[in-house]
Amino acid sequence: MSKITIPLGPQHPALKEPENFMLVLEGEQITGATVNLGYNHRGMEKAAEERTYMQDLYLIERVCGICSHSHTTCYITNVEELAKAETPKRALAIRTLFGELERVHSHLLWLGVAGYEMGFETLFMYTWRDREQVLDCLEMLSGNRVHYSINTLGGVRRDITAEQKAGVLKRIKYLEERTKYYISLATEETTLLARTQNVGKLPYDVAIERGAVGPTARASGIARDVRKDDPYLIYGELDFKLITHNTCDVFGRLVVRALELMESYKMIEQILNNLPEGPIAVKVPWRIPAGEAVNHYEAPRGEDIHYLKANNTDKPERLKVRAPTLANLQSVAYMMEGGWLADVPLVIAAIDPCMSCTDRAVVWNPKKGKKEIYGWEELRKMGIEHYKRRGVDFTKL
């Protein structure tokens, strides 16, 4: 049979974000795959050099729409290390709490996406409904659902009250029950097993060779987790298990994430019940002494690594960000080879890729020569009027 090369992406219904895979096919079987990236490069590292450390905090938060806390925490650890700031224990505990809430939110989101890619849309509806609980927790604590902006130089911006603590614990209890159901679903439901077992194989030695990180690596039996290997924040004092699985396939990645959810709930309860007393932030000077620091952080998708070089001014000399997806994409190419075309979306989704996502309703009006920013209500009104003019009027129904 002759070989055919087909491009998948950068715009494709099965992909949520712009990336491109060149797939070499023999019939429906994939014999070769290459990954092409760069469709979403926003020049953030250059932009960071022109902003102050405080402004960069908000820039770095926007590296990712889901791991926003992961990136700022990794960045801020570097800044505080160079400034020799003594971040209060309570602030570190609150950062850890947000880190775990973020993991819960990200893993539930992934579970839904995986369900959706399998064609199991009920799972998608269920997990995304439950995910609202953790988003409510984040909103209650920080005022925001996605970009929590809880970190600030030297600590955190908001404290946690007794009512908030009770509210979070109540929601976590509910999620714990739901997750038990998902675990039984993931390990017993026959259609789910049929769809995930032996799909997207990534053996142990290949995972090491290609530098896989996070749940993708752990599902290939690699006991690698920054929270255990090089504990940061207050992870050294928390009691949790490092979850690994040895099936090296999409099923393993599903089980690892589902079990990690349970560990996260455990940690959230531990943090809230033993929250250290004291201040939540210290002052950090605007100018950061010259020096270099490198730190890593276990984001929901895997190891996040930041390098920072300071030069005695209020702006960084160089900031480097490596998100986990870039490390994992090398493994995706391997996972697809030898597999079937129909499995591609699921295999790609299984590493939980994030090419970064951003969406804003800013309209440039050339006649008025200025930007107009539309809120949700205005956009909704505009939409209704747009269709009214075309004869579609729901107000008459």
Binding site: N36, L37, G38, H41, G43, E45, K46, I208, E209, R210, G211, R224, V226, D229, D230, E292, A293, V294, H296, E303, I305, Y307, K309, R318, K320, R322, L326, A327, L329, Q330, P366, K367
Partner: protein, 158 residues
């Protein structure tokens, strides 16, 4: 004796193995080791470190110091991060490729070429990353002398 026995041991073993090629080695704190390496010895050093358990090349950070360009290779065994710095003259910047040892480093090396204009000796030709195909090939955005000039504002077609 230092508090960081394990880190000191890593530093000492690299210094012993690569005498003359390695300088400014420093144990910064727990789990962080920094060192400078002679550019031509880089693949050999990383290859040896890989056999010593540093199986991950986490990423490569390019930098611009004015007279010299260079790159930091962040090597890790998941626990300790050893950052290997190499420098290369701005007039003719070139660093040997480490793809033979770390095949996964291809996007990091292409980034050095695209963003800093450092020639990676031994990197096979391929699609550029991360800049778009139509970006000028003689401009390197992450160099310090490169400034972003916003494009002229588009006017309405008449």
């Amino acid at each position: 004796m230092s508090d960081f026995e394990n880190e000191e041991k890593i530093k000492a073993s690299i210094e012993a193995k690569f005498q003359g090629a390695v300088s400014n080695a420093l144990v910064q704190r727990r789990n962080r080791v920094w060192l400078d390496c002679a550019t031509e010895k880089l693949p050999e050093l990383l290859g040896w470190m890989k056999t010593e358990g540093f199986v991950y090349l986490a990423t490569i950070t390019g930098f611009d110091e004015g007279e010299n360009l260079g790159a930091c290779y962040h090597m890790t065994n998941a626990r300790v991060i050893v950052t290997v710095r190499v420098k290369t003259p701005r007039a003719n910047p070139s660093i040997p490729s480490v793809l033979k040892i770390f095949p996964g480093a291809v996007s990091y090396e292409r980034e050095l070429e695209d963003m800093f204009g450092i020639k990676i000796a031994g990197l096979p030709a391929g699609r550029r990353y991360p800049l778009p195909e139509d970006f000028p090939t003689d401009q390197y955005p992450l160099r310090k002398d490169w400034k972003f000039v916003p494009p002229a504002e588009e006017t309405e077609a008449k």
